[in-house]
Amino acid sequence: MTAALQIVFDALSLGGLYALGALGIALIFGVMRLVNFAHGDFIAFCVFAMLWPSINAAAIVFAGNLPFYLLIPVLLLVGAALSMLSEVVVFRRFRNANPATMMIASFALGFVVRHLLLMLYSSRPKSITLWPSLGLPVEIFGARIPMLQVVTIIITVAVLAVLTLFLKRTRYGLEMRAAAENFTMARMLGVRANNVILLAFAISGMLAAAIGLILATNSGTADIGMGANVMLIAFIATVIGGLGSLPGAVAAGFLIGAASVVFQATLPHDLRVFRDAFVYGAVIVVLLVRPQGLFAPKSAKQRV
């Protein structure tokens, strides 16, 4: 029973992380048809924003020393600012470009950000301790669950709830959903294009910061490539969920997280190293059966 509970919590927290990543991609894709390949590097940037630039293995934390009620908002702001800056400086010029051009531009941006971090911090992972008390286990129905996992799940659920409320109940949320369906039509009804897009980028940036915080707390390190693992799965999740569908991206994120954890628990010992290969195999099976994704959005036009 306790083992099963442990698996459930593992699945929910890992799935939640993937879901948040997929959401960050899906939001921007919805309004701009842009796949932001720089997202993983934004995650890393947010984490490194807490440290002074140095090539030492022991990080000199500056912002990271702030108490949590200051650190979290500051980091969310950093994420939002970086994301919005990238929109204004780079992506705005590509508003009407073809999708291939936009994808390469975002890939290039990620490349630049990554190498900027490399230049300032070197490729050596730095140790960083944030809220070590979160590593302690908490007793839930007899199972000992790391506190951080519980917090991750709570954060994910809270983010999803807030975002859903925002999208369904506020004027700006409504405008964003309308713009995602038909951008030009929305503009003709007075929806301000720039504001909607900036908002999508801001939210996406905050999600990146949140993921960064969770990863940094979990692993105790700051590593240039730390966003890449989550984002690899997050991208796959957006495809499986159905490009353009927000609930699809979230659901797919949880599904892949669950699959990963289940494989980890049920595979025979020597095959455990190949757990990732099994997860990818499962992804391939899903794509063979439903190439358009699990939740292809209703406004799907003739697709070739």
């Binding site: 004027r171 369906e181 038909n182 030009t184 003709m188």
Partner: protein
């Protein structure tokens, strides 16, 4: 009072010239029909006024303000609402949400609820399904929805591109009924692209005939339509 003035406007799509030196004026309260064969530039004219395509040359003035090259959202805020061809409902949003999108930019927020009631009264079939996703509606219902949605923006000039396309005659009757009633009740100025000359004749008003990106004829709708020789020369495909 001239509500909209288009002055020698030329629009190009790459190397294709879609509008050549178009000049026209719309007075407040009138109904102006735009007709002509396919490819004449009728939709482009509406898109240019809406700010979707910027003119290469010329000027567009809306209610005295120069809107040449302005963005669609700015032009919408000045009192212009375009209902494009093809009933572009926001399929994933409900009817009520579709209607509310148009009202978002309005400054007179206290009037929005009243306008919503008005739309539901004029279009009872929308009121019945206000929480249904717009993608599930029939063609006629969607046409009503997009007109209602444009109304929620409280425009002074409403342009509609091909309101009868793909609809049964009885539904088209209803659509025009409502349009004329709205015009009377809300002092709405109408600019309608309509391939059916019969409709124009039945409704009355002014008409311009476009061909190859130019305005080739202008006049009273009824008079123009009755002149058979003109019809044959320019319409080619006979009566609708």
């Amino acid at each position: 009072m001239t509500l909209l003035a288009v002055d020698d406007v030329t629009v190009r799509y790459g190397r294709l010239t879609a509008l050549r030196g178009i000049t026209l004026a719309i007075t407040e309260g009138e109904v102006l029909f735009v007709t002509g064969p396919n490819g004449a530039g009728k939709s482009t004219l509406l898109n240019a006024i809406a700010g979707v395509v910027p003119p290469i040359s010329g000027a567009i003035t809306l209610d005295g303000a120069n809107v040449t090259g302005a963005s669609p959202e700015q032009i919408a805020r000045l009192g212009f609402s375009l209902v494009p061809e093809g009933r572009n409902v926001f399929a994933g949003l409900t009817i009520e949400e579709n209607l509310k999108v148009g009202a978002g930019m309005r400054i007179d927020k206290h009037k929005v609820a009243g306008d919503l009631d008005f739309v539901y009264r004029e279009f009872p079939m929308l009121a019945e399904r206000r929480h249904t996703a717009a993608g599930m509606l029939s063609g006629g219902q969607q046409q009503m929805l997009v007109i209602g949605r444009a109304l929620m923006a409280s425009p002074r000039l409403m342009a509609i591109d091909e309101p009868s396309l793909g609809l049964a005659p009885k539904i088209i009757d209803q659509v025009y009924d409502i349009l004329m009633r709205l015009r009377a009740q809300r002092t709405l100025t109408l600019l309608i692209v309509e391939q059916s000359s019969t409709r124009a004749m039945m409704t009355g008003g002014r008409m311009i005939l476009m061909r190859g990106g130019r305005i080739v004829l202008e006049g009273d709708a009824r008079d123009m339509v009755k002149d058979k020789a003109l019809k044959q020369a320019y319409f080619g495909f006979g009566d609708h």
